[in-house]
């Protein structure tokens, strides 16, 4: 492997996924560098979730190629799963297990040894300030704490890439910023961050963002270049320009 390839965490080439005669993901191509914070934006129904499922090795693409953490999305899905972390707002942790049990469960799934679970788990809980809550049921925690825990759990097995699907919905602006601090710290340690969000100010926190419209990537660049290209004051206007002009009434 040459050095350039080693610096690429995600590489997609003409990646396509169809369901019957509906094309959810339509020939998307992009690269994400190691340690980069990559924002994956798009309107509801643009194909983000489907694309993410393919990239995570959960759904086989119809055509095209993709390498995730150096592994092929057709042949090496199990290796992909071991080398990525995933967190979504909707489901990440078991509410009827305690903080500690969730950590042990997910750590165990990823093959972390009992000994490491114990020492690293305690360390992690201390770091995120949840050591006093370790025997509490996750369902009893405030949403902001749940999200911090879910993010830490997604990183517990030290994946190369972490996928975050609308991680910050519904939390207050202070908690949201604390969460982004954790994202920055992970990125500084070399973890690649792939994140979807409907908050356009968060799009500004990304190194680069792509905007998906009707299954295609309609724009991809740094936030400042996108603003320049679309002569827009902020990412909200950029998004509106791209998604509005291309939006068709398709019922999706």
């Amino acid at each position: 492997m040459n050095t350039e390839l080693q610096n690429i965490a995600i590489k997609a080439e003409n990646l396509t996924k169809t369901f019957g005669n509906f094309t959810a993901v339509d020939h998307i191509s992009f690269e994400v560098k190691k340690g980069e914070i990559f924002g994956f934006l798009g309107a509801n129904g643009a194909g983000k979730t489907t694309a993410m499922q393919v990239l995570c090795g959960l759904s086989v693409p119809t055509s095209g190629n993709a390498m995730i953490a150096g592994f092929d999305v057709y042949r090496e899905t199990e290796k992909i799963k071991k080398n990525i972390g995933y967190m979504s707002q909707k489901f990440s942790l078991y509410g009827n297990l305690t903080v500690r049990e969730n950590l042990n469960f997910f750590g165990g799934i990823y093959g972390i040894s009992r000994e490491n679970l114990k020492t690293n788990g305690a360390e992690l809980l201390e770091k995120i300030g949840l050591e006093h809550e370790k025997n509490k049921l996750v369902s009893e925690l405030p949403l902001g704490w749940k999200q911090k825990l879910a993010f830490s759990v997604a990183l517990f097995h030290e994946p190369q890439i972490v996928f975050l699907d609308e991680p910050t919905g519904g939390v207050d602006p202070v908690t949201r910023r604390q969460f982004w601090k954790m994202i920055y710290d992970a990125s500084d340690r070399g973890v690649t961050i792939f994140v979807t969000t409907h908050y356009m100010d968060e799009a500004e926190y990304c190194d680069r963002v792509s905007i998906m419209v009707d299954g295609k990537i309609a724009a991809l660049d740094t936030p400042s270049n996108l603003k320049k290209d679309f002569n827009a004051e902020n990412m909200d206007d950029v998004f509106y320009e791209i998604a509005r002009t291309k939006k068709v009434i398709s019922g999706q």
């Binding site: 309107a43 405030p142 519904g170 207050d172 602006p173 601090k181 356009m200 509005r244 019922g251």
Partner: protein, 309 residues
């Protein structure tokens, strides 16, 4: 006459050790044709207030009137004049768009024709799919259908509980355009949202946290009343700028704000942009841009939350 008067509303859930104070002595008024926003994070008590005001939940104490009707005594009358869109999609998933609408029409003893004018502009967008089951609709379409069903009996007051959560920015913008037009037609709107940019579109907003209202103001006054100076800074990667400014002595607070960093400083500190620039230059930053800016609602909310913590 107020459209809505809320006095000392309080609600707790659970008993003994498990007891949670969800709504803590909340009072506010809403005047006719106003868009009044309840702004706050998950768990602030917004939904509990909505459920009490829509006569679905009894308060522990306190009272409220809606169009001069008592929330508890006159609940049956109130239900005829209010429209309610709950935070969770609550229409019948296995009925089609059209069937859901007709269901609400029959409950309220009206016809689609009678009030079609009110929903027309929204309904035409989903009408091509009127035979599709509600459970199969996208988020934006569900939201439009729910709004149609909440409007079809021409309510005087409309309660919208986080109508745009999880909805993309384009659909959100369209939704707020619709709300503005409903307001012009004489409907009072009470809306909850966790989005600070939507707060700016309300006539007045109540900022909420932990069951309490922290302040009630117009968006303009919230900006004007902000007691500190805000420096808007751009100088490279946000995380590094934040880290450097953490040690800037006169700072009251520092946080990321879109592409910028906001540095909050007390006015008495007599700090000017050049002071900040010098500080960052000494810390090794280049291409530094600094402006003094007016507070947004998000800045105010962060300030209120920081004081409480």
């Amino acid at each position: 006459m107020n459209s809505l008067t809320v006095q000392n509303l309080t609600k707790t859930y659970g008993k003994g050790k498990e007891k949670v104070l969800a709504v803590d002595d909340v009072s506010f008024d809403v005047i006719p044709d106003e868009i009044f926003g309840l702004i706050g994070p998950d768990g602030a008590g917004k939904s509990s207030i909505f459920r009490m005001l829509t006569t679905l939940l009894l308060p522990d104490s306190g009272s409220a009137t809606i169009e001069n009707l008592d929330m508890v005594k006159d609940y049956a009358e109130i239900r005829k004049i209010l429209g309610y869109m709950p935070g969770k999609f609550s229409l019948y998933q296995d009925l089609t768009i059209e069937e859901n609408l007709h269901f609400f029409v029959s409950i309220f003893n009206t016809t689609v024709e009678e009030n079609y004018d009110l929903i027309k502009e929204i309904y035409v967008q989903i009408e091509p799919f009127k035979n599709r089951r509600a459970g199969k609709l996208s988020g934006g379409m569900k939201q439009k259908l729910a709004l149609c069903c909440a409007l079809i009996h021409q309510p005087k007051v409309l309660f919208l509980d986080e109508p745009t959560t999880g909805v993309d920015p384009v659909s959100r913008k369209e939704f707020w355009e619709i709300l503005k037009r409903l307001k012009l037609r004489g409907i009072t709107i009470v809306v909850a949202t966790p989005y600070m940019d939507e707060a700016a579109l309300c006539d007045r907003i109540a900022l909420m946290q932990h069951g309490k209202i922290l302040s009630i103001e117009t968006p303009e006054n919230i900006s004007l009343d902000f007691p500190y100076l805000i420096f808007e800074i751009k100088a490279g990667r946000t995380s590094q700028v934040l880290q450097a400014l953490e040690n800037f002595k006169p700072k009251k607070n520092v946080y990321a704000f879109g592409e910028f960093v906001h540095l909050i400083v007390d006015k008495n500190e007599k700090i000017n942009p050049d002071n900040v620039k010098n500080y960052l230059q000494n810390a090794g930053f280049e291409n530094i841009k600094i402006n003094i800016v007016q507070a947004s609602i998000e800045d105010s909310f962060i300030d209120l939350l920081s004081d409480k913590k």
